[in-house]
């Protein structure tokens, strides 16, 4: 039935001149043709379509059949497969390229998640054929095609383990490899232009489309992917994909070092400046940097002569971006990039004027957030390691400025405690012969110490909350009093001591006594309450809800435990404080 309808409409249209087909003609052709193909009469349809007399008809209307064709082809088990393939090839040759393009891309867009990989791998070659037919005007179509394809491909799940990448169940690796084949002729075309003219205009449309494609790939899926090194996985399609993207960038005239340093070098305001920013999204460049310096992708096309400090400066922008995200994969990449960039730099070499740059302060702040707030413990630990590494690379003056800044802005007792430990190490280093300097020994030390040896709320400071900071600062003070002899007083601590006693030690002692008394009283009352009413638990004053779940009340035993450990903590603080007071007293006794 449908076949007859098809023959009818075709015959009727043969007579129409100048392709003045009516919408009904189109509809009839579409419905009849579709039905024929679906019913398995593709052989007949093929014979109609290849008929020379029907050339115009095919050119105008042929693309309509794409939908059904593709469905058949995707099923793959149909005995009509060869005919459908033949129909498709013929259509691609003869049909109007623009319409064909639209039709094919529609098919790609409409693919459901289960069949994305299949559809893409099926249609890439046809798309390429059609695009090449467009000749000089293909640039925007290429762009459209690439963007549609990438959007679909990035919906595919990213393999995490080596086995998943090998199995490639969802087809991401296949699609990436296929995409590389797809873009090859277009890249070659650009390379020819470069060869002939010795240069290429930055605004060459095809080049711009390829650039957009590379940038988009770097952001998705490459930023998500964790590449395995050749020792772990010898043949990795994703690694090849990454390598090829970088090579393409290089081939179309983008210098990798220039890309890297975009964020750092001041650019002249050129017309279309905003477009420049859009052309080189920061996230893609961050991925590029990670590929180069952590995964060592395409490292042989990257010059080895860049100064490590300059590389660090460039990368700080990307590290800042990555560390300001919350996804663990981004944080992991940010930490890796930071670590690799720092390792290249000599210890004690980064000068203080680097701290003027915004990123050299915002990155540590982000790092602190990772160290204190990230739920993943491995990331927290790694964050701390990289934090210490970054401190080691600053020179003495920069360390001083950094510590001062962190103490002023951090508001987290653990971080402050860690910084104070570093200050102690620096003072220790400076006291050794030949290491003297103005920052941790001379006139600048005392202002820093005032930041260390202070109680934010005087005697009423919450000692438990600030335990880390207090313990580290007491340790520092004790160390200095023992190490720096009174008659040498290289650090100036002895002359400052009376002020420290007034501003720090005495309020601390008061606070300690108060807190101890308070907690001991609490402890006593809880114990008594426990004895009196062991059965009826008093209704607590407040309830704690976590994630919509009310936590059970603390039993009296738990309360006692908590209070007891608080008292122990105060004892701990007191022991160090007592020791310090002893040392001071001993020195103040006149020499006999």
């Amino acid at each position: 039935m449908a076949l007859e309808q098809l023959c009818d409409v075709v015959q009727r249209c043969q007579a129409i001149k100048d392709e003045g087909f009516s919408p009904e003609d189109y509809d009839l052709f579409f419905t009849a043709g579709r039905t024929c193909i679906e019913q398995g009469n593709s052989a007949q349809v093929l014979s109609i379509l290849v008929d020379e007399k029907n050339k115009n008809i095919v050119r105008c209307m042929g693309w309509n059949l794409l939908g059904s064709l593709v469905q058949i082809l995707l099923k793959k088990e149909d005995r009509n497969l060869p005919h459908c393939h033949a129909i498709l090839s013929h259509l691609l040759e003869v049909g109007s390229p623009k319409e064909l393009l639209v039709g094919l891309l529609e098919q790609v867009e409409e693919a459901d998640s289960a069949s994305i990989a299949e559809t893409v791998t099926l249609l890439l070659k046809p798309l390429q054929t059609v695009l090449l037919r467009l000749g000089m005007k293909k640039a925007s179509s290429v762009g459209m095609a690439l963007s549609t394809l990438l959007s679909q491909v990035t919906r595919l799940p990213v393999p995490v383990t080596k086995e998943q990448e090998e199995d490639d169940v969802f087809g991401l690796c296949r699609c990436c490899s296929a995409l590389l084949q797809f873009v090859k002729p277009f890249v070659e075309e650009i390379k020819e232009v470069v060869k002939d003219n010795n240069r290429i205009s930055k605004d060459n449309e095809l080049r711009v489309e390829l650039l957009k494609f590379c940038m988009k790939s770097l952001s998705e899926p490459l930023l998500e992917v964790h590449l395995k090194d050749p020792d772990t996985l010898l043949k990795s399609p994703l690694r090849d994909f990454a390598t090829e993207i970088l090579i393409i960038l290089s081939s179309i005239g983008e210098s990798l070092p220039d890309l890297l340093s975009r964020s750092v070098l001041k650019r002249r305001e050129v017309p279309g400046f905003l477009e420049e920013e859009v052309r080189y999204p920061k996230e893609s460049l961050a991925c590029l940097s990670h590929l180069l310096f952590v995964d060592h992708i395409a490292v042989d096309i990257f010059p080895a002569v860049l100064s490590p400090v300059f590389v660090l400066q460039c990368n700080m922008e990307y590290i800042e971006l990555l560390l300001s995200r919350t996804e663990e994969s981004r944080l992991q990449k940010g930490l890796e990039l930071y670590e690799k960039s720092l390792i290249r730099v000599e210890d004690n070499s980064l000068p203080v004027d680097l701290l003027e740059l915004k990123t050299f302060f915002s990155v540590p702040q982000n790092l602190v957030k990772v160290m204190t707030l990230c739920p993943d413990q491995t990331l927290r630990t790694k964050g701390l390691k990289v934090f210490q590494l970054s401190i080691d690379k600053f020179n003495t003056e920069a360390k001083y400025k950094f510590f001062k800044g962190m103490l002023k802005t951090s508001h987290h007792a653990g971080v402050e405690g860690y910084i104070i430990k570093n200050i102690k190490n620096q003072i220790d280093f400076s006291l050794k012969p030949c290491n003297g300097n103005d920052w941790f020994l001379g006139k600048y030390l005392l202002p820093l110490l005032r930041l260390v040896l202070c109680l934010p709320h005087g005697p009423e400071t919450d000692l438990l909350q600030n335990l880390d900071k207090i313990m580290e600062s007491l340790n520092l003070l004790r160390y200095m009093l023992i190490r720096d002899k009174e008659w040498e007083n290289e650090t100036g601590i002895w002359t400052e001591l009376y002020k420290i006693e007034d501003n720090y030690l005495k309020p601390l002692r008061t606070g300690l006594n108060m807190s101890k008394a308070h907690y001991e009283a609490e402890l006593k009352s809880v114990k008594e309450n426990k004895k009196i009413s062991s059965k009826d638990s008093k209704a607590s004053v407040c309830t704690v809800t976590v994630d919509h779940e009310k936590l059970p009340h603390m039993t009296p035993e738990m309360q006692i435990q908590v209070l007891q450990s608080a008292v122990f903590t105060f004892d701990l603080i007191e022991s160090v404080l007592g020791r310090i007071e002893e040392i001071i007293e001993a020195k103040e006794r006149p020499l006999s």
């Binding site: 220039d258 002569v305 290249r344 004690n348």
Partner: protein, 325 residues
Amino acid sequence: METNERTAVDYSGRRKRASTRPTKLSGLYVLKDVLLLNLLLFRESFAEKELISAIQRLRKPDPYEDKPLDLHAESLSISRCSFKTHDALIGRLQARGARHSGAFMMAADPVRAWSDEQLKNEEVPKKDLIKFIQENAAHSFLAEHKLLGNIKNVAKTATKEQLVQAYNQLFEKKRFKGTDVDVVTEQVEAAKISDAPKETKTEPADEGPPKFTKSILKKGDKTNFPKKGDTVSCWYTGTLENGTVFDTNIPTSAKKKKQTKPLSFKVGTGKVIRGWDEGLLTMSKGETARLEIESEWAYGKKGLPDAKIPPNAKLIFEVELVSID
């Protein structure tokens, strides 16, 4: 040989038979060492040898020298029994001690060798006076009074009055050796404390000789040299000392060379390793040179394992400076 009966005073202070000739020890100034005071204030004249051994016993070994000062090795011309030589001896020993030990310096300031009358009477030769002042005064004092240098020359230029004036001023103002900063630094050096801090390597300062060498393989135009901040483009090949090529931007075929661009960057601004920044500034347009860069101006102790550059590696680059913008 004179037969003075001299007796030494032992340290319990018991005097033995006094000598026959009284001596004058006028103008005795600061003497913190109580025993030496005992020795000298009793206006006894002592045998030089006893004096030397007494002083030797008083002196502690020089902390900055391994052996105690060997006073017998002093080549001092001492004539027995003359007052001025005893004082001069003490003065010289003290001055010598001052040079070698701050501790002894604290014990006593130099003592006037002659009284005012003696100086007026022309008893004291100019040369002795000059010698005394030179041995006891601070360097800056000598400089101010133009008493530095060879004694003969000083004697020619300075009059007796000037010398006497300087001598008196020395004692009035106490500008003795050791009161000057330069003596302190001498002592510091003697104590082998180096005060050069090690923090200077942060500055990429122009210290020391350049850490690279250049040999020209092909001459450039010799007129266009890049300045700091200019954008230069170059082709290069980098090898290690053993010949391994670790980096190059020169493509293998000539055809490909048309498709690749030379490396461009702003020279002299710290974007590349220092050897390159410094080396390229010495090249002219069109020049091809061989730069051998020491590791300090390349990748130093760390090397660049990613690019197969080992630690402390000297790098050799063949660079062609194509253009300057």
